[in-house]
Amino acid sequence: MATLQGSTLEAIQHSQAQLREEWTASLETNGATRNIKEQVLAQETQEFLQLLVDGLRAGGGSHLAGSEWEALRRFLEKLSASRAQLGHDSHQAAFFIFALKGPLFGLLQAHYSSEPARLAEQLWLVSELLDGMGMHTIRAFQKTREEVIRRQQEELLELSTPVVKLWDGVLALPLIGTLDSQRSQTVMESLLQRIVDTGSEIAIIDITGVPTVDTLVAQHLLKTVTAIRLMGADCIISGVRPQIAQTIVHLGLDLGSLTTKASLADALKLALARLGCDISKQG
């Protein structure tokens, strides 16, 4: 199998400064340096070339999976993570690698000008290596982005389940959006915790903002209500819209153990009555 020649390595090592200059110019003309400080870029290009030379010297082949490329792989992962944080797209992140192709090929062409067969072989190997690096960068970039999305999803989950205190001993949880297993778990946990923290005896779950109630959602609601009852508090479900009431009846769901009210106001009135509070208009 063809391997990267020592002379290729030497050529790269000798003209590192020139390579870097051309590379940076290529990056700049293609807009892959947006929002990146000149100093940082210079440091990045230098570190990358150094790692490339080190990897080649350690006998790294054209496959990036080898242990010789460990340091370089880690560098690329860090690089794409920083690009993702700067708001660059995957194209711009990968272009950091691909922009090196032009200058590097030019260098090899000049170096092997007298041996066309050797030139083709070396070009192929270098190209394969760079492609692998580009792919690795994109993959790492995607991973970082997915991480960001996952974190935002979690934050959204937390944000979308506020437990509010309506009265001394009365908590309300306005649910908005679809209730899936994961969300109902978070809802249940935060509501139960608040019940313990505040010593509230009545919790009102308002489902005005829940678009549909199917068997699964009903089951989640029942579970939450049972858990609340086990802790020694009472639960009222409010905001049951007429269509939802129809769906529940048509599906034949048994909500027998639940207290349901049409609106949050009705539920609050019932809660206050249970607490023994009396509300009347003045005059």
């Binding site: 019940i195 049972t226 020694g232």
Partner: protein, 120 residues
């Protein structure tokens, strides 16, 4: 052998579970409690499980059966101070403890217990 203490407060019995429940301890408690209810002719039993942070299906069933047998001996049972994690676990295990009365804390539980006993 370790036991869970059963305290008498007037016509009520107070059980506070402060240690991790294991099966033998639960069975002993069940036996002791029935003995005490019949010997003191208590009208109500209050079980405080606020220190219990882990349950399994056995302990869950034991809570239900204690409640059932106290009712036969004509004593109201109140389970108070269940932790959120415990409540979620019991629900996930399908143990909804239908006949068991619950309250948030000992104070509330005692209040409800007094009301119920005085109504009888």
């Amino acid at each position: 052998m370790e036991r869970i203490p059963i305290l008498q407060m007037g016509e009520f019995l107070l059980v506070t579970i402060q240690v991790d429940m294991h099966d033998q301890l639960a069975l002993t408690l069940q036996e002791d409690l029935t003995e005490r209810i019949s010997s003191t002719s208590a009208r109500g039993v209050l079980i405080d499980i606020s220190a219990l942070d882990m349950v399994d299906s056995f302990i869950g069933r034991m809570i239900a059966s204690i409640s059932g047998l106290s009712r036969i001996l004509d004593a109201e049972t109140m389970v108070v101070g269940m932790q959120p994690a415990v409540a979620i676990t019991l629900v996930e295990l399908g143990l909804t403890l239908p006949g068991v009365s619950t309250a948030l804390n000992v104070e509330r539980g005692m209040q409800v217990l007094r009301q119920r006993v005085s109504q009888k």
